[in-house]
Subunit: 256 residues, 2 copies
DNA sequence: CGATGTGTTGACCGGGTTCAAACAATGTGG
DNA sequence: CCACATTGTTTGAACCCGGTCAACACATCG
């Protein structure tokens, strides 16, 4: 299992921020309202709620499916992926949760967690008991609103992906996926060169509704177009030289 | 504090080429339970919140995109569809909201409504000001939880549809769609014969990520298999003789 | 009546799946 | 250290589902 290898550099931020500036500096670091809002709500939580901090490493579980729902998890930094198990033993990628995202909303409807969640990278997770959140919400309305905004955002993203699957051909779909990650990196005030996707082609394809072969082929085509630049380090390491070009490619639905 | 030891249970990996797992159609739909919960939360609202009742007819707007977000809408009975406008003027079906569903969550993230919503049929809509909901939530925690459950449910449905688009072929996709409506009818304690879909083939296809021609063809194939029985009244009126057979068809991903 | 919107069906073609082979990266045990 | 297995990635070739274009049926409505 490749995730289980030990991190030599415990702080992924430094690795990603490595500077060898042959790529153009990104158009606008876009510190963004999102990051600001994320900070605000985390400050609210820190002030008004008891929670536990956990530092997890790639592959460690955040929550397990079929356990009773009681706590919500906030990704303070790092990345988490959620999987739903199918009857035949295979599992499907349900979603990705990055810095500022919450994990565990899906348990509220049925009373038990609907999916397994794993850290994809060294991550810090804040876990809050839902009952205490409700309790604190009575005193701090801003906290409640922050929670709702997070839920609303997750809903909107889910819907956008559904529409992307319904409308975009394979290449544009992968490009859109990469655009999301680039976006996230830029929100963290990092650069979009040296992206390291800790995902197999099969997992990407599973999420995007295509086979691993098609993912591989689409990657090759995007590289041919110069939209991604593979690193010599391996096929999971690459740079995104021009995020705007990627956006344009998605908007054109891959007609280029 | 830092949990440096490795996790004993490695995360399950996807099999090679695995996107052949099936997504689960809601374990034990619990026909009565949802309706019960729906009734409960509506009782809570009726008792603790001021709201406006509107009876709308097919085509009437519930909310408009780009207007400031201030109110949430609860479908007391009837059906609502939401549309998002694309840059080129075309619009995409964002979702359907039936009895007990809420409309308007998507406005919380950006502060303005993200989509247009129209009644698909004669419907009663309860509209609540979000600020008042927050206010009342401080006194009535059950109300807040009901809201969260509704949001969680919508998120889960959105995700399930995304997975359906990613995994199911056209016929099974349409079957799954019909299964949802049949389900809803049964929740309302009605029968699943004489379904009347107030949707064009193009709208269905738009939602399901396929062309109207494919929708038509899939309908014909389902009718040939006896999974739906068209009424003489027109091609939008039909019966679903055996919902279980429909479920089985979806689970088999259309291999029948 | 023609006009318009909607639904159905056929023929054709292309993007993506499937099957298959080979390669690369990594780990394991002798 | 190498031989070997394992897992992940790439690429090729053939097939097929679903998109595209087109013609036609059927309804409602002016």
């Amino acid at each position: 299992m490749m995730e289980l290898q030990r991190q030599q550099t415990p702080e992924p931020r430094l690795r990603n921020g490595a500077f060898n500036g042959q790529f153009q500096p990104l158009p606008a670091p876009a510190p963004g309202k999102l990051l600001e809002r994320c900070r605000e709500s985390q400050a609210l939580i820190e002030r008004h709620l008891p929670f536990t901090r956990r530092v997890l490493h790639a592959g460690n579980p955040v929550q397990s499916a079929r356990t009773p729902f009681s706590t919500l998890h906030l990704v303070h930094f790092g990345a988490v992926k959620t999987l739903v198990a199918a009857a035949d033993g295979s599992s499907h990628v349900a979603g990705f949760h990055l810095k500022g995202d919450w994990v565990g909303f899906d348990g509220m409807i049925s009373g038990e967690c609907a999916c397994d969640a794993y850290a994809m990278d060294t991550s810090e997770i804040w876990s809050l008991r839902y009952a205490l959140v409700l309790q604190a919400a009575a005193q701090v309305p801003g906290l409640l609103h922050a929670l709702h905004v997070a839920m609303s955002g997750q809903m909107a993203r889910e819907r956008e992906w559904r529409m992307a699957l319904a409308t975009l051909p394979a290449d544009a779909r992968l490009a859109d996926f990469l655009r999301c990650w680039a976006h996230w990196l830029m929100q963290r005030e990092l650069r979009a060169d040296h992206v390291t996707l800790r995902l197999t082609r099969a997992e990407i394809g599973n999420y995007l509704g295509m086979t691993l072969e098609t993912v591989s082929r689409s990657f090759s085509r995007l590289a041919l177009l110069g939209l991604v630049a593979f690193d010599s380090k391996g096929r999971r390491n690459f740079a995104i030289p021009d995020v705007q070009a990627l956006v344009a490619f998605v908007d054109a639905r891959g007609d280029s």
